[in-house]
Amino acid sequence: MELLLVLVLGLLYAAGVYLILRRSMVKLLLGIMLLGNGTNILIFLLGSITKGKPPVIDSNHNVFQDIYADPIPQALILTAIVISFALTAFAIVLLKRVYALVDSDDLDDLNTPEEEDI
């Protein structure tokens, strides 16, 4: 399964990169989200994956009786997910504002002329 995840993360990164190379701001956003997902999978995979053993101690015991999945990558990813949600939300709204201003999601329409006094 690790090999499949390796493939998945590679393709997530690839798709993310492909999308951030586009002109559309929506695609840019999607690309950023995909890159985030790719990173999460990478952390998840490299922190070593364990099947069917959540890091939750059995209700009848005080310590783990069995092997369990590494909880740290999970906590890290959780934080990363929440942070990227914050960024994504803000970015989406930024997109909305941009669209309201230039009436397009083409990033090239957003460029301000150099001479303009800002």
């Binding site: 922190g47 890290l76 504002r97």
Partner: protein, 505 residues
Amino acid sequence: MIDNHILAPVFIHLFTAIIQLIAWRKTVSQRFLSVGGTFIGLLIAIRLFAKVYTEGSLHMNASNWEAPFGIVFVADLLSSTMVLLTSIAGFAVSIFSSVGLSRQRMLYGYFPIFHFLLMGLNGAFLTGDIFNLYVWFEVVIISSFVLMTLGGRKAQLEGAVKYMAMNILASTFFLTGIGILYGITGSLNMADLAIKIRNFDNKALVGITSIFFILGFGIKSAVFPLYYWLPSSYHTPPSAVAATFGGLLTKLGIYAILRVFSLIFIPDDFTRTLFMVLAVLTVITGAFGALIKTNIRRMFSYLIVCHIGFMLGGIAMFTKLALMGTVFYLIHDIMVKTNMFLIAGFIRMVSGTMDMQKLGGLYKNYPLISLMIALVLFSLVGIPPLSGFWPKIYLFQEAFVDKQYFFIAALIIGSLVTMYVIAKMWADVFWKDVPEGVAIEDKYKDLPLFKKLLLVVPILLLCSVTLYIGFNAENIIIVVDRITNELLDTSPYIRNVLGDKAFEQ
């Protein structure tokens, strides 16, 4: 040594921001809170610095879990110096903002977010945990996004989109690096990582990991060819915001490089060569850019890039003298760049534009302020004996020893262009009369004296700090010398965090 109050510089801003949020839309109280908060923050930072200076490095195990299991915060001299500088800059910008910023922006949360930004910076400087550093980076990034877009004019949005996209990319690289680092060591504590990476046999993999940090921090500190976000965006937000950005954000990247590459990835030949090549190109890029810009802030933006190259060059050589140059430059740069953008704001205030072609007559109308500004500008150029001069001596010295002739050339070109553009700016903005047909809207003139002071005092404050750095270089060098020792010999840092057990294995 343990000190549970290390995070005070963080919490002061957190609580200030929270109280300001509660006082939502009450701009007067927010202003007072902000100036008060940054002032207390400054006192706290001074206390922290003094304590670290006299008693040595401090650390704090958050949640009371011993390192490497909890998040550890470390205040060594580098951290506490950065916190101190941030606090000074923060205090100045806070005062400036209270008059220099439109009320509309204050109504929509400028001050709380400004404090969140300062909080994030202080946190980033103090943390001893690599993932926690990522969190602080994100705090900084998101607050800077918001500050960047605050106002929502088209140019701002353009800047913000680019700023955002590339900074998120930087975070992606950074986080990927952290993931890999965790994958090969199973640790996140930087001191612990230092040991584990040293004992890790597959050096090639360590090298690969370090690339991600180079990319992440490289984007953050606007190094060629990763710098694009900076000149795309720094000219767009209000000057008070740009001042915080210009003074502190790229320097956070430099700090991170210093920290991570002194502690975890000790630069090998490849990394050093890479840094050097990038440093030279960064200086050149910044210099070329600054040469052709007529908008003051666009020009400043490129100067930031240019001078980042100086600092990176010092890191590239990674010797005592070179690092002293970098650290000294870092200290100087934070104060001066912050002030530069405040000055830009002042110029906008008195003339309504930032375009050098439309500006003029400042020296005639405001001679004393102009002379004060001149001092700042000269400090930036590094006119001896002002602050920018001293670090260059170290950089030149080490570059000759290391035979880095390209870097020497870059130093000369960078300094020369800086001098040229600043002189040109002086000639155009201060000397020249207002061009014919340009209507000057001087908002400053009609302000009451108190408000005028609030605009000028921060510039004066930073200016005096800069002068202090320049004329009392000896004191700065003593600090810089100790910081550099910390960077070159990290075993005290590691021992501070992990205790003696760290070296038993």
